[in-house]
């Protein structure tokens, strides 16, 4: 009885972990693809079946060649060996006797001489067409043959003995690869596609929005929570009512306002309008309401100013709420896309934020997934890393604000 129950629990836990692990895999896998693809070279991205880990072809320095040579597998007599590619396109042809076109002999074009010599090449009529004849040596015998088909093959050599060579189709040859990685994509994206500047823009915008919103929300929240003044409650109702209103309603008038005050294409338009939010004010008010009145009254009797009370009593007591608001605002500012898309013109490269630059990159480098995903990593990783460090605040922010980034 006891052991069957234990077995039951064990079985149940196993199933639970498999389900949880499966979901975790689904959640994480796209990010792994992003990371590993961004470390690939572009040739490595278009494999089928797709491969997760970045690989690169092994190259080898061989005497007599300046550049390192790529290494390929060569199959000979059921034996697989690693050869270097010493010549990319060797012109070859299949030769055959005119009356036996089925049996062909592969020869390099440069090593074959026309029958009768270069001066007076002989020809033969085949199916009403005139074909040149070439001397082909087969088993020590020289037989005149015509060209059946032409192609180009790669010349592969044994790296230890360059005289042992094999002709083989380069595109069909399997390269010798090793697991490796390269940060070239990141370098190219930050330098050529100006993602470096975009990163700096996004950082500045985010810092500005977070600091600005914290300041106005804390001050306003304190006023709503703890100071009596005429019109306070009516104003607060107005604030509350506007929380429901979706941003899209504001987008055209806000754009027109930016046109009026000359902020179109300016980073100011991404920062200043976003530091006054009803939601942040509401959140801070709720946090401040939870602090008991007595402490504040005692401080007022001691002659402390309201600002001192806010700084010395209310701020330390509401750190979790402040951190939650900061986290939420950080994500919102860092990830915002719609408003920057509207207000920063696509031609203005220097004022692009990361999301905008990424969108442009997605179109411009569509055939280099390694570049696109390196750009995605630059935009995605900072919030993820900060999330891993300060996980608690993110979860608190989610449950206390209920707002989605």
């Amino acid at each position: 009885m006891q052991s069957s129950m234990r077995l039951n629990t064990l079985l149940k836990n196993t199933v639970v972990y498999i389900v949880l692990g499966l979901f975790a895999g689904v959640m994480v896998f796209p990010f792994l693809v992003m990371l590993f693809t961004s470390l690939k070279v572009v040739e490595d991205t278009y494999n089928f079946p797709p491969r997760l880990l970045p690989r690169q072809q092994i190259t080898m320095q061989v005497d007599g060649f300046e550049e390192p040579l790529p290494l390929y597998y060569v199959d000979q007599d059921a034996q697989r060996s690693e050869y270097v590619l010493i010549e990319r396109s060797v012109r070859v042809a299949n030769y055959a006797e005119p009356d036996d076109m089925a049996t062909t002999y592969l020869r390099e074009v440069d090593q074959v001489t026309p029958t009768g010599g270069e001066a007076a090449p002989q020809t033969i009529m085949v199916d009403g067409e005139e074909e040149e004849l070439f001397d082909i040596e087969v088993d020590g015998q020289i037989i005149p043959m015509i060209v059946e088909s032409r192609t180009a093959l790669g010349r592969f050599a044994d790296p230890n003995d360059l005289n042992t060579t094999v002709l083989q189709n380069v595109r069909l040859s399997e390269p010798v690869e090793k697991l490796t990685y390269t940060f070239d994509s990141y370098q190219e994206v930050t330098e050529l596609h100006a993602m470096g500047r975009s990163l700096s823009n996004t950082a500045l915008v985010t810092i500005g929005v977070v600091l600005g919103q914290l300041i106005t929300s804390i001050l306003g929240g304190y006023a709503f929570a703890r100071l009596r003044f005429p019109g306070r409650d009516k104003l607060f109702v107005v604030y509350l009512a506007t929380i429901m209103i979706p941003f899209v309603v504001l987008i055209t008038p806000l754009y027109q306002l930016m046109v009026t005050i000359g902020w179109v294409d300016r980073l100011a338009a991404l920062i200043i309008p976003w530091i006054f939010t009803a939601y942040g004010t509401f959140l801070m008010r709720q946090a401040f309401l939870a602090i008991p009145n007595e402490i504040e009254e005692a401080a007022i009797l001691d002659g402390a100013s309201r600002f001192q009370i806010l700084r010395r009593i209310f701020l330390p007591a509401s750190t979790p709420a402040i951190a939650a608001l900061a986290t939420f605002t950080f994500l919102y500012a860092w990830n915002s896309f719609f408003w920057p898309l509207v207000v920063i013109n696509s031609g203005n490269e220097s004022n692009r934020v990361l999301t905008l630059a990424l969108n442009v990159l997605g179109g411009r480098a569509a055939d280099s997934p390694n570049l696109v995903l390196a750009g995605a990593a630059i935009a995605v990783l900072p919030p993820v890393l900060i999330y891993i460090l300060g996980q608690r605040f993110f979860v608190e922010s989610a449950t206390s604000t209920g707002l989605k980034g």
Partner: protein
């Protein structure tokens, strides 16, 4: 806590006014008369000058001038009679005038647009931020060493010095000096000198009026102090809120009744925009495949939909066909993305809540997609969706081959889905991304809701013989009602406004064809591609009403469920 007040308000003694305070109040009396006159002059200039101001700017400026002038006019005699209301008015006028002039000068001196230049030099300041953080850490380390006061003080001082120095270094690195010089150089035209002077004067009067000795002389009450503090604390927030939120909101309603084009041209068109959105025509067809142009006025209407009922066929035409397509796509998106991100979340939250070890790890992992930028996520999925070398089609192929190898050969064929090129699938591809990204967030909300259900309920149910399945349906689901309402309504609101995913994932945005054109995407293309901003605003209001309606319906159902 140390509460040291710089204000002498609470200090004993000094019953009679100091002579300097008296002199200041005399000057303030004159100052407010000057301000009133200046406001009047400004008002006259505003309506008589040849300079063309837009009407709304003229109206706003006039309102401000009238308020400032009248308040200042009342403040003057009240200050003379030492009435406490005079001080309140004076503070209001001076503080508001100070802010107004300060912000205008900042605007005119290009401080806001200078943020662009700051972004360029910002990178140079980054190392100093590192120093700043290390100073903060040293400081925080000092706080911990409570047992050794001397060491604590030393660490704090070192931390403060490092923080101060790195802050100064940071400001210089990002070009504070050049910025200040660039601003000062501009104070050379009469207008700019007047502005700078105005800022200083209003600021100085506000400051001296605020000080304790004046407060005492003007018989300040504690209610006054609290009220002034209230307005002072709220002022940055309120002014920004009015300017960047409430104002544009009203403007938005107005714009939706105009044909604004985004370049400053706009005419009142009444309800024409809304009329165009909702203009539908309905006609009976002689046969199910009769051409629509035989019964509809095709100069106005495009065929939207045809259907047969009770043996007769009908056709519906719409003036703005694309709006209705966008509406349909949005509703399809909402109706699939919400269940896909809510139901698995409820399931996962329950599994996580069973108290097995490792719950925190899984919770953390599930939340990761929520913090990532939608643009980045969409690009990752774009690659996963690649129809030839993408992972998703590869997984499907592997599964299909696996099933085929187990059963008799060839039961299933590999679908080779063109995720982003097939008009029937593209919207669903967007749904998958959205559900994937919102799932973790909803799981966390559900987990928080589950923590609030008392354990005793489950224990009682177990004793009564209810199995886990019954407990889930009879206890967990009903008690999670408020959480479900919250999760569903926030997800719905978010889904109604889907834009980023579609815009980045599909090329051209909304494609292929119109298969992923959503309401907000359509709004964007009307407002910022075709520059029909009046029309875009009407779409926005229709969307808002829809969202409001959906939320209210959910709210009603939630209330009804609670009552039952």
């Amino acid at each position: 806590m140390t509460a040291t007040s710089s204000q002498s308000r609470k200090l004993p003694g000094v019953d009679q006014e100091g002579s300097s305070t008296q002199r200041f109040l005399q000057i303030a009396f004159i100052w407010h008369i000057i301000v009133s006159i200046a406001a009047l002059v400004g008002l006259v200039y505003l309506w008589t000058s040849n300079v063309e101001f837009p009407v709304w700017q003229r109206v706003v400026a006039s309102v401000i001038a009238v308020i400032l002038g009248v308040a200042s006019g009342f403040a003057s005699p009240l200050i003379r009679s030492r009435d406490h209301r005079g001080r309140v008015l004076s503070l209001g006028v001076n503080y508001f005038g100070f802010l107004l002039l300060l912000l205008s000068s900042m605007h005119l001196f290009g401080i806001f647009t200078g943020i662009d230049a700051l972004a360029n030099t910002f990178g140079r300041g980054v190392p100093f931020i590192g120093f700043l953080v290390s100073g903060y850490l040293i400081n925080g380390f000092g706080e911990r060493a409570e047992k050794y006061p001397a060491r604590q003080r030393l660490l704090r001082q070192i931390g403060n010095v490092i923080m101060g120095l790195s802050l100064i270094g940071f400001l210089f690195a990002i070009g504070l000096l050049q910025g200040v010089i660039a601003i000062l150089v501009q104070v050379n035209t009469p207008r700019n000198i007047a502005l700078a002077l105005g800022v200083l004067l209003f600021g100085a009067f506000a400051w001296f009026m605020w000080r304790g000795n004046v407060a005492k002389a003007m018989h300040e009450s504690s209610d006054d102090l609290e009220m002034l503090n209230g307005y002072l604390f709220l002022s940055p927030n309120l002014l920004g809120f009015l300017f960047f939120f409430a104002g544009p909101l009203l403007l938005s309603l107005y714009v939706s009744f105009t044909n604004a084009d985004g370049f400053g041209n706009q005419e009142w068109v009444g309800l024409a925009n809304y009329g165009e959105i909702f203009n539908l025509d309905f006609a009976r067809l002689a046969s199910p495949d009769q051409a629509a142009n035989e019964v509809l006025d095709i100069t106005v209407y495009d065929e939207l939909w045809r259907f047969s009922i009770f043996g007769s066929s009908f056709v519906i035409g719409a003036q703005d066909k694309l709006f209705w397509i966008a509406l349909r796509n949005t509703l399809v998106f909402v109706l699939s993305a919400v269940p896909f991100s809510v139901i698995p979340a409820l399931f996962l939250a329950n599994v996580l809540n069973s108290g097995i070890p490792g719950m925190r790890f899984f919770r953390a992992v599930y939340f990761i997609p929520s913090v990532a930028a939608v643009v980045g996520v969409a690009l990752i999925w774009q690659w996963l969706y690649n129809s030839t070398v993408g992972w998703i089609n590869y997984f499907i192929m592997t599964v299909v081959e696996g099933i085929n190898s187990i059963t008799t050969a060839g039961l299933l064929t590999d679908p080779q889905i063109g995720w982003l090129s097939d008009t029937n699938v593209a919207l669903f591809a967007v749904v998958i991304i959205a559900a994937w990204q919102w799932l973790g967030f909803n799981t966390i909300l559900y987990l928080a809701g589950l923590q609030n259900i008392p354990k005793s309920l489950y224990e009682a149910a177990s004793i009564d013989g209810a199995n886990a399945w019954n407990q889930f349906w009879r206890i967990t689901v009903p008690l999670l009602g408020p959480t479900t309402f919250f999760v569903v309504s926030t997800t719905t609101i978010q889904a109604m406004q889907v834009f980023d995913q579609v815009f980045v994932l599909t090329r051209p945005p909304g494609g292929p064809g119109t298969s992923t054109t959503t309401m907000v995407l359509y709004l964007y293309s009307q407002g910022f591609r075709n520059f029909r901003q009046g029309y875009a605003s009407s779409i926005a209001w229709v969307l808002f009403i829809l969202i409001l309606g959906l939320t209210l319906v959910q709210f009603q159902r939630q209330r009804a469920a609670e009552a039952a």
